[in-house]
């Protein structure tokens, strides 16, 4: 803890808000407050561009009166501003109309602390050290090939947060995180070789800056000589970075109130098989030292491991207390709170897709004509499930071999059709932040729009 942090008192303003709210005629309320200190280095052009440090704090209040919700937040924790924030949330709750779906907020529950969520190396990181890590990434790129122009950067964050509710929840959490990426661009005449590599985690020790730079350079060089290809229907092999967006799209569609209110393409898919039996997805917010772990979710409910998809069948939606109330089930501990702004949503934590039994090389070798997708977003329209997306980086596969990079190519379809057409899942994949695991996924017969 730095000298500056010792002077930040979150407990007192939270107590002040609690005292005020306790005297008011309301159904329930919660108060969240957080403090964070972040450092960042940005890369642009020939290398490091600037060094930035930020100190952020604030408090949010959520009040229900006659089942109407009022929310207010402030970045000032002065007594007068705390009072105004409380008054504003209260007065807004009185104007809001009763939400027929609201059934209350969770009470207190005890859970064993998830270890390893605060790394002292990140707490004590300096901008000078952060700049040194960026230089290591740049040096690693230049070792592979000289003369790149860069975008990218490194950000670290150390935060402390409080949650107190009228139902007796009271906890404090401390967490660190670090993320970095580097995107080198090489030019040869009119041809461009450009790509990126990244990593993130709770602790500094898990980030290999040299490897990130080296991989980014190799990926960028591979993009030289990209060509347009014809429209067609081909199998796609999504590498882990593309497969992750496919998973996040589905998990977003089975999370929270949109899922239970029938507003997503997957709302009707609970307990239905949507993919071949080889697809299994677990969510676990209790993994020690993992990026999306926490002892409690955004409403103070203990995190727990959740089997989401087994044998291709969706077993559960991911709930906060609001959506669980609508579905008539217990919350699964997936409430998400965006800092101190008061609003609560729901979404996945650490996602693990179960590895399959083939390797990425075998997938490519077994493809006569297809597309290896190394960078594209398969996030669909969440209501209709339709998607139409650009292959930002990909390679044509011919006779079991990776040929040339492609450009100016789109892929479209319905996301549930894409899940149904999953043919194989790789046994190796990418672990991110010690919590996420995504393998490569091969799907057959996907429609491409090109030349």
């Amino acid at each position: 803890m730095t000298d500056m942090e010792e002077k930040i008192d979150l407990a007192r303003p939270v107590e002040r808000a609690l005292r005020l709210l306790s005297t008011m005629d309301v159904d329930v309320f919660d108060i969240s407050a957080s403090y964070s200190r972040s450092l960042s280095i940005s890369l642009l052009g020939r290398g490091i561009k600037d060094a930035v440090s930020r100190t952020d704090l604030g408090m949010g209040v959520r009040v229900y009166k006659s089942r109407g919700m009022g929310v207010a937040f402030s970045q000032s924790l002065k007594p007068a501003d705390v009072e105004m924030t409380v008054q504003r949330a209260h007065s807004f709750a009185r104007v809001a109309q009763p939400d027929p779906y609201f059934k209350g907020i969770p009470g207190p529950a005890k859970a064993p602390e998830v270890p390893g969520l605060c790394d002292s190396e990140i707490v004590n990181l300096t901008l000078e050290e952060a700049g040194g890590f960026c230089k290591r990434m740049i040096d690693a790129v230049e070792k592979v090939h000289r003369g790149a122009m860069y975008m990218g950067g490194l950000s670290s964050n150390h935060s402390r947060g409080f949650l107190v509710t009228s139902t007796g929840v009271s906890y404090e959490a401390e967490k660190t995180s670090i993320s970095t990426y580097i995107a080198p661009t090489f030019r040869e005449g009119d041809d461009v070789g450009s790509s990126y590599e990244y990593d993130y985690g709770i602790s500094l020790a898990e980030i290999n800056f040299d490897e990130i730079g080296e991989k980014a350079a190799e990926k960028a060089l591979e993009q030289f000589g990209s060509k347009r290809i014809e429209s067609g229907i081909l199998p796609l092999i999504l590498t882990p970075d593309s497969a992750s967006s496919l998973c996040f799209g589905l998990l977003g569609a089975i999370s929270g109130e949109s899922a239970v209110k029938g507003r997503t393409f997957a709302s009707g898919c609970l307990r239905k098989q949507i993919a071949p039996e080889i697809l299994e997805i677990d969510d676990d917010g209790t993994v020690p030292s993992a990026i999306a772990s926490s002892t409690y979710d955004g409403e103070g409910v203990p995190r727990r491991p959740t089997r989401v998809i087994a044998k291709g069948t969706i077993l559960t939606f991911l709930h906060n207390s609001y959506s669980a109330g609508i579905a008539g089930v217990e919350t699964t501990g997936h409430a998400q709170r965006m800092g101190y702004r008061g609003y609560v949503g729901a979404g996945p934590s650490n996602i693990r897709v179960k590895p399959g039994d083939s390797s990425l090389d075998e997938m490519i070798e077994g493809t006569k004509m297809g597309l290896l997708v190394t960078n594209a977003s398969f996030f669909p329209n969440m209501v209709s499930g339709e998607f139409s997306t650009t292959i930002d980086e990909g390679f044509l596969i011919e006779n079991g071999e990776k040929k040339h990079p492609v450009k100016n190519l789109m892929v479209g379809g319905h996301i549930l059709d894409l899940y149904r057409s999953i043919e194989s899942i790789s046994k190796e994949g990418r672990t991110l932040g010690r919590g996420f695991f995504f393998p490569s996924i091969k799907a057959r017969d996907v429609k491409l729009a090109g030349r």
Partner: protein, 463 residues
Amino acid sequence: MRELLESIVQEGLTAGANFCEARFFEERSNSISIENGVARTLGSGILHGVGIRVIVARRWGFASTNMLTMGSARRALEDAIGGAKSIATQVGEEAEIVEAKPEVDTVSHKVKMNPEDVSPEEKVKRMLEIEKVARTYSNRVKDTFVTYRDVLTKVAVCNSFGTSIEETTPRTYAYCSVIAKEGENMQTGFEYVGNVTGYEIVDSVQPEEFSEKAAKKAVNLLGAQPPPRGTHTIVVDQRVGGLFIHEAFGHNSEGDLVFGGQSIISDKVGQKVASDLVTIMDDPTMPRNGHFVYDHEGTKAEPHLIVKDGTLVGFLHSLESAAKLGSEPKGSARAQSHHHPPIIRMSNTYVAPGYMTFEEVLEDVDHGVYLSGSQYGYVETQKGQFTCKAEEAWLIEKGELTDYLRDVAINGLTLDALKNVTAVSKDFKMEMPGTCGKGQQGMYVDAGAPHVRIEGIVVGGRR
């Protein structure tokens, strides 16, 4: 507050900074969310703080805090100076800026109806009226959402050139989205309004042109078909045209991306980059959503001509990019909040109108796709490859709009696309108020165009 900022600037210079800028930011917002006839949530928020930027040892350092005391501001100044020194020996971009003309001014944008003067009850009543029109449009309307938001932003900038400006800007928005359902098929339609304005923009909303229109789109899209895949002639409406020019070209003209080696047009000033029909402007002085008088470096904003009759004539500049690219800053540097350093942003970006009618733009198209309404877009500036997603579309057959299409996105290579513009209409509109994301910062922008015809664009789809 300006006294505190001016003191910090002086202290920064005394501490050895070659340049020092202190910026106060405050944003007060109110919002209302209506869902299926229920005013479910009312919210408000206050963001405020100070961001300090320095050049020390030819490098940039920046630090911010939300604690508005002299002590916290001093600590931020120390952090900014320490940050710049910490990277002084590392490989990278040296900080270099043009000497700016000092500006001293206070600007407050006037509104007809101050949102603070309208009670929350009255706002809720108005939004419920607007929402009801969508909800009762059809029995296929499943869900309706109407959101109201007003934001009052105050920015004060003081720097070591002697600039001391303050600008207070009100913005007001209304957004309606509708989900329509038929069997398993669900589709969405939306409409939005927003500007540098007060509550009058919401007061003047005509529900049949707003929420009913959103509901109509959602219901009609239930019967739409997927587009034909492949490379087509396209015609874009004013919103898709605005999105296209913002994404495909606007970002490439941002001076930081130009000197940073991330733009495909960095070496093309004075060269043809588009067909003769294309003139592109970015104009922060237009009274639209991207409007401001001073940018967040304190530079007075002027209109920027980027492309004239197909020839690239300039870029958008900050103090830094103007120095590095040998140009004059005209006010394009803005920051999302006190926690962010100013970076180069578009404001109100548009394709200038031509002389044709919409019918004339369509009539030469034997087979193509007409796209209407913007959903989202993005660009990889270093490669010059863009993607734009439209709300709805129609097939064009022998100059006529025929089959109704949904889920239509386009992809293209920026310079090829601009050179393949073969028609530009005279019916210009700018009605795309929104925020643009860049470098983890969101910023208020607007974009517009007339109808534009472009040959050889990839249309994605399932057919």
